[in-house]
Amino acid sequence: MQKTRTALTPGLIAIVGFLTVCPVVMLILGSFSEGLGTFGTFTLDKYVQAYTDPAFAEILVSTVIFTLGSALVATGLALFLAYLNTRTNIPFKFMFGVISLIPMMVPHILFAVSWVLLLNPSNGMINLFLRQVFGWEGAALNIYTLKGMILVEGLLDLPIAYLVIAPAMAAFDVSLEESSRVSGASNGRTLFRVTLPVLRPAILAAMTLVIVRSLASFAVPSVIGMPGQIYVLATHIYRIIATGYATDYGMAAAVGMSALAASITLIVLYRRLTREGEKYVTVSSRGYRPSVIDLKGARYPLFGIVALISFVLIVLPVIVLFYTSLVPYVMTPSAKAFAMMSWRHWLAVLKDPVSLLALKNSLYLGIGGATLGMILSFFVAYVIVKVRTKASGFLESLSFLSFSFPGIVVGIGFMWFFVQTPLYSTIWALLIGYIATYLPYGLRPLTSAFVQIHGNLEESSRVCGGGPLYTMRRIVLPLLVPGIASGWILMATMFVRELSLSVVLSRPGTEVLAVQILRFAEDGLWGRLSALGIIMIFISTALVVLANAIAKKFSKRY
């Protein structure tokens, strides 16, 4: 057993090292090269070109405003929701669990599209409605602005901020507040002098994480920002490689370097903040329950706000898309609209060879990719949790590294690699890129599942006469099933909706769903987009249900 273990760790370090370090190294090499395919001589031209571009300063400013704004929106809403959930007697608390699950349900690009359908200046449904009812001229509300981008991205990143803040809020020691009150401070003073400062590390950590996410975000900047001529780093990189006649992967790499550097710096900051946050955790006694604040008359109005947020996050996009997929062109709901409803967009999509190919590719990548990803995650998690040597610690940092990489930048790095190999323009290029970028998603549930298997459970099986393989089959694997299932679901849903890496790596023949949706959006084919989008949501949901059913079957005696 010792021998296989020692061979396993370096092998995994090689695989994971390739997956995470390769795109970065290729990105660096590429940024100093002349052109894709042939590296040519070492040159600084691309950096000079990229960073002396007069438009670049404006892009940086937009990026900063966009990321900071989204962080403020997401964190502010998350604080509000977390406070209501953990500290008050608001009704229907299960709603909060649903809100933290949304990232699994509606893909970001579809969420962004649904807001475009509602609020775009020319034929956004809300704008049309305002025009018809109040006779307002022009566009009352315009989504194609920085404000619009911030609002939508903030809503999309709300669940992440919530997942960081809610546990910190739940662990908050109420006696800190009570002693402030006893010392004569008012409610408001207590909030600003005690509650928020103690929660500061969690709040800053949530903001940092949202900044990283929005920096890497491609869906909102491309669907909402680009039509309004608002470019951020991600869409700027996309513009360099995907539009115009002269695509320049060297310059894209040079720009990508600053996005990558910013992300890594922010993730380091995030890690430091979460460590500091742990120091602040004050409660440890068992059976402790934070006292609940009675909202009295405000209970239902406040719940109304929560319900509205949930509605806007989950139900509204699906309704808007489904409605749009049925009407011939964008119009406000009316008797006429219902009379004109038909399946024509659905039929068009189902007859469209590219859409069908994208559907097939995404399904293949979702199921096959997640399965391969989980096999890799299984061994990596085993080494990280159970082997515990210096090398396994290194493997752990290596495998969580890619969490901080913006997808489009990783895509550029991989592009520089894949053009040198026969993998270029094949579905395998996408598969490798996906697994490299989303490995942490599969790894995290598996490592926590491994941690929960106390060493005694395996040892006891050995003493009871079960050999190593027998022990693996009857004890370790069944106990891991929940972790494997949730890792698989996460990876598969991420893969089915993947956009930011795919816009770089997807070529004719390897189209995927999200890229096809982006194409429809660029062409203004909203009806077909909505039909395909609903199919995409359906697939994601089906994957979740399927994996849950399998997990239940395997651990039915649990």
Partner: protein, 362 residues
């Protein structure tokens, strides 16, 4: 089955430091008895147990269970745990949460491919033995701590091993349940005629349960004997101190006579009802356990082993008074009947039987 451990050593390395977990342990664990390894945490008792069961392999030495050598460093023998046919109860019980009680207990039989009928019969028998009849279908996660402990015992017994090992099996139970389970375990093991090796840091558990106790410290066995021998006759301060509470009074041997030994100590001359081989003048320590100190309130008599002192502190702990008496410069702890009328600050006389003083060589 007898277990022989010969010259077993094991070192751990962490952060460049070497930790000696077992230092040249030589031990014969007698057949069909309850044998306890007792010692403070980090003394190597659990490592020794894990070496016997095969979850660790020693650096040197040899371990034989019955006639079979299961480990030998020289001959390169290592029999994996699943081939040693032992039973073990873990500190955490290690009940598999994804199985019900039946599957947990049946596991050793399923692993060796017994027939279905055989398994059902033997599991029922094992569950009956630990008084869990009818619990077969209960999910393992729905058991109380005491029930889990019994399931773990049933699982360890079901394949009828010749040796069963216990790694602090009672430490996760609350005080009252621990006492009951200890008595029950003693009854089970006596009934079974099985070699039991029991690891604990709890001296009361060790005294109440064992036929033989081996006291360990720093990877070595410092003393071995019956509970009474360990409690009353230990000639090492570490053992006397670790097992129960004790007063240690420094002194010198004054005279060795027919009836015992007279010692000049810090509190005056002490008569000990024990003979030792030490010549007069040798420095020794007298050990008196607090429960053997009597308080003589009324009588003012003088005599052998009667000392006068002042009650410095007195704490009522329910079934007794525990306190300290100052005799000269020496503070002695004592434990007396809760009904005794003694008050703090009172001058009293105390007495102890020469037979209850032991002499520890320095």
């Amino acid at each position: 089955m007898e277990i022989r451990v010969r010259n077993v050593s094991k070192n751990y390395y962490s952060d460049g430091k070497t930790i000696e977990a077992l230092a040249d342990v030589d031990l014969v664990i007698p057949s069909n008895r309850i044998f306890t390894l007792l010692g403070p945490s980090g003394c190597g008792k659990t490592t020794l147990l894990r070496c016997i069961v095969g979850l660790e392999s020693p650096d040197t030495g040899e371990i034989a269970i019955g006639d079979e050598v299961v480990f030998s460093a020289e001959r390169g023998i290592f029999v994996p745990p699943e081939k040693r046919a032992l039973g073990m109860v873990f500190q955490t019980y290690a009940i598999w949460p994804h199985m019900n009680v039946f599957d947990n207990v049946a596991y050793p039989l399923q692993a060796r491919n017994d027939s279905k009928d055989e398994i059902v019969r033997k599991v029922a028998k094992a569950l009956h033995f630990v008084q869990l009849d009818g619990f077969e279908k209960r999910p393992a996660t729905k058991l109380s701590g005491g029930q889990q402990q019994r399931v773990a015992l049933a699982r360890a017994l079901v394949a009828e091993p010749k040796v069963i090992l216990f790694d602090e099996p009672l430490s996760n139970l609350d005080a009252k349940l621990r006492e009951e389970t200890r008595k029950e375990l003693r009854r089970f093991l006596t009934e079974l005629k099985i070699t039991a090796v029991y690891v604990t840091h709890d001296q009361i558990e060790a005294l109440a349960l064992s036929d033989t106790i081996a006291v360990m410290r720093n990877g070595r066995i410092v003393e071995m004997g019956t509970p009474r021998e360990i409690y009353f006759d230990s000639d090492r301060q570490f053992v006397a101190d670790f097992i129960g509470h004790a007063n240690f009074i420094p002194g010198k041997v004054a005279a060795v006579g027919e009836a015992g030994t007279r010692i000049d100590s810090a509190i005056g001359p002490i008569a000990c009802g024990r003979k030792i081989g030490a010549a007069p003048g040798t420095a020794v320590t007298v050990c008196i356990r607090p429960e053997f100190i009597r308080v003589l309130k009324e009588s003012r008599r003088d005599g052998e082993n009667v000392f006068r002192g002042k009650v410095e502190s007195l704490v009522f702990v329910g079934d007794a008074y525990e306190g300290e008496i100052r005799v000269g410069e020496t503070l002695l702890i004592f434990r007396i009947e809760p009904t005794t009328a003694v008050r703090e600050g009172e001058e009293i006389a105390l007495h102890f039987d020469p037979l209850h003083c032991s002499i520890l060589m320095n």
